[in-house]
Amino acid sequence: MSNGAGRILLDVRGLCASVAGVPILKGIDFTVRAGEVHAIMGPNGSGKSTFSKVLAGHPSYEVTGGSAVFDGVDLLALSAEERARSGFFLSFQYPVEVPGVANAQFLRLAYNTVLGGRGRDELDPLEFDDFVREKMKLLEMDPAFLDRSVNTGFSGGEKKRNEILQMALLEPKLAFLDETDSGLDIDALRIVAQGVNHLRSADNAVVLVTHYQRLLNYIVPDFVHVMDGGRLVKTGGRELALELEARGYDWIGKQAA
């Protein structure tokens, strides 16, 4: 997929961040080019989710050093909604439930805000209904999910499909998928992965943040990185994920030390 020639979408240099005064990210260098798929793996507590949230603009994390340039723009200077509008997408590990707000209302609002901001025509409820139903087919989602409250009472797999549906609607340049595979059965995993693969192009990129190798059977990465102690300690190709699955994470720390 990648020949190393795509334009640079994300360039992170020496990124450090802390939460409530506790350093979590301790100097991350990470580059993603258009057309690439990266996987970031690592044990629990290594900082994988924090990295995604810091890039998405979570207010609880304080960036204490380094830089992140997203498609030529200083990502860290943007608010969370500006990052989303400029094409950065985060699929949440734990998507938030919003009782009382119909999924269709939420999705249309997000679509009109993000794509409207890029010059696309805003869609009224009827137009949007047709549009979103097409996208839902990709994820084999029942249209009944449009009328239900956002993520409320959804199973784990339904929530993750709803995340990828948002990715399909918002057409991001760069999507971070945080633990999109955890808690999914094989059927749901296959559907979600098919959806992601369908959305990939030479102009965008995907970063899979995952604890498990399993997802990488379905979305094949160009690069696999291992995070440990708030740093990317090892980078390799797809075979690194298989090695991690066979040997666990312990050997990495020893090798890096």
Partner: protein
């Protein structure tokens, strides 16, 4: 200023002209209520039941009886408040029944379902009315229920006979005059196996101050099901005092969904008593208030028999300098084994001056029961706001959408689509309108 003197004058004004029309069998009830109303003093914040809600602004009002000779509003004037999918509608204007605005009282009727005015039922000495009215809403210690009962001359009477199926009745109480007091009264009797739904709806066609002093009594028979929706959308200057008293017999169901948009001060007392085993109660409440409204809900769930279930969710959205009060009392009496009861009160404060007092009150005298309760007061969850912002929504839009959803979660449970639509539109007005629609 002597509060005692003012309140005495206030009370005299409330009671003046409370000369009951004669009705077979109710004279004793009314004269007893009048006696109690004269004996009781008006509540102040020194009374435990009123410590969070100060009625002094009400006592300063010079209230009078509504005039009888003012013209009734036109059908057009009230069109916005009509629920088209509910054919049976009783309309009261400043407490007075309006046959012209109401549906024909035979509309949608079956032999098992009686919907009429209390005046008509009392005039014919209806035995069911005589057996039930004043039995649930006690007057001995409750001044406002006593005043309402002393005034008792009209209201709504619904009787769903054995096995009567379905039927929703919309009771619309309109306020068209300022500085008056109205005393709405509703009696619902659902006999064994019957099913009926009541919508109690308070609306104002003017912006001045007035007082609603309502009493609703609902007797749910064995295995009967009653759903009760109360919508209170009085004027911002209105005072709304309401007593809802319910008893539920063996295996019966009672669901109460109450939405209040405040008024100057609103106080809803809801008490539900278990009169047999195996009953089920659902209580959903929303106070959505702004300005300097005070919205006070006092609920009392009385588990007096085994195998009772109750679920309560009361939400408050408090903006401006408004003040919400929730006092949720649950009593599980000795012998009420296997009671399964939950209560949750969730409040969102939208400004620094907004204020909530919440007081769960569990009293459990049986040992084999499940009771859970919780109360949260705070701002919107930062994680929820962040989630919406990662989808491109501005922080303001995200907050509005979450506030809307928090409130709509209760409103959406109302089983009448046109009322949901009308209330959702009102929620939207206060949460960014088209920006989130």
């Amino acid at each position: 200023m002597d509060v005692t003197k003012i309140s005495r004058e206030f009370l005299d004004a409330l009671l003046s002209g409370a000369a009951p029309v004669p009705a077979e069998g109710l004279a004793a009830l009314r004269s007893h209520a009048l006696e109690r109303a004269n004996a009781l003093s008006v509540p102040t914040t020194r009374d435990e039941e009123w410590r969070f809600t100060d009625l002094a602004p009400l006592y300063r009002l010079a209230l009078k009886r509504p005039l009888d000779d003012v013209p009734m509003p036109s059908g057009e004037a009230i069109a916005a408040w009509i629920a088209e999918e509910v054919p049976t509608r009783l309309v009261f204007v400043d407490g007075r029944f309006s046959p012209a605005l109401s549906s024909a009282l035979t509309a949608g009727r079956t032999p098992e379902l009686t919907v009429t005015t209390l005046a008509a039922a009392m005039a014919s000495a209806d035995a069911v009315v005589q057996a039930h009215v004043g039995k649930l809403a006690g007057v001995d210690d409750d001044l406002f229920a006593a005043v309402n009962t002393a005034w008792l001359r009209d209201g709504v009477f619904i009787r769903a006979g054995r096995g009567a199926a379905g039927g929703t009745i919309h009771c619309l109480f309109l306020a068209t005059q300022a500085d008056v007091v109205q005393h709405p009264r509703v009696l619902v009797v659902a006999e064994e196996g019957a099913q009926v739904a009541l919508v109690e709806d308070y609306v104002s066609l003017q912006e001045g101050a007035y007082c609603v002093n309502a009493v609703v009594e609902i007797a749910v028979g064995a295995n009967a099901r009653v759903r009760h929706v109360k919508v209170q959308r009085d004027s911002a200057k209105a005072f709304h005092l309401a007593t809802t008293a319910v008893s539920v017999q063996r295996d019966g169901f009672y669901g109460n969904l109450a939405v209040t948009f405040g008024g100057r001060i609103s106080r809803n007392n809801i008490s539900i008593r278990q009169d047999g085993p195996g009953t089920e109660f659902e209580l959903d409440g929303l106070a959505f208030i702004d300005g300097r409204s005070v919205a006070d809900t006092h609920s009392f769930v009385d588990h007096a028999h085994p195998h009772g279930r109750s679920r309560q969710l009361h939400k408050c959205v408090v903006a401006g300098g408004a003040h919400a009060v929730f006092n949720g009392r649950i009593l599980v009496r000795e012998g009420a084994q296997k009671t399964d009861s939950t209560q949750e009160n969730r409040s969102i404060l939208l400004s620094d001056k907004a204020h909530v007092d919440t007081k769960p009150q569990l009293e459990i005298f049986a040992d084999d029961v499940k009771c859970a309760h919780g109360a949260t007061v705070g701002q919107l969850e930062a994680e929820e706001v962040f989630y919406l912002m990662t989808r491109g929504l501005s922080e303001g839009t995200a907050r509005n959408l979450l506030t809307y959803g928090f409130a709509a979660d209760i409103v959406n449970r109302i089983p009448i689509a046109s009322i949901v639509k009308s209330l959702a539109a009102r929620l939207l007005e206060h949460t960014g309108g088209q920006e989130i629609a």
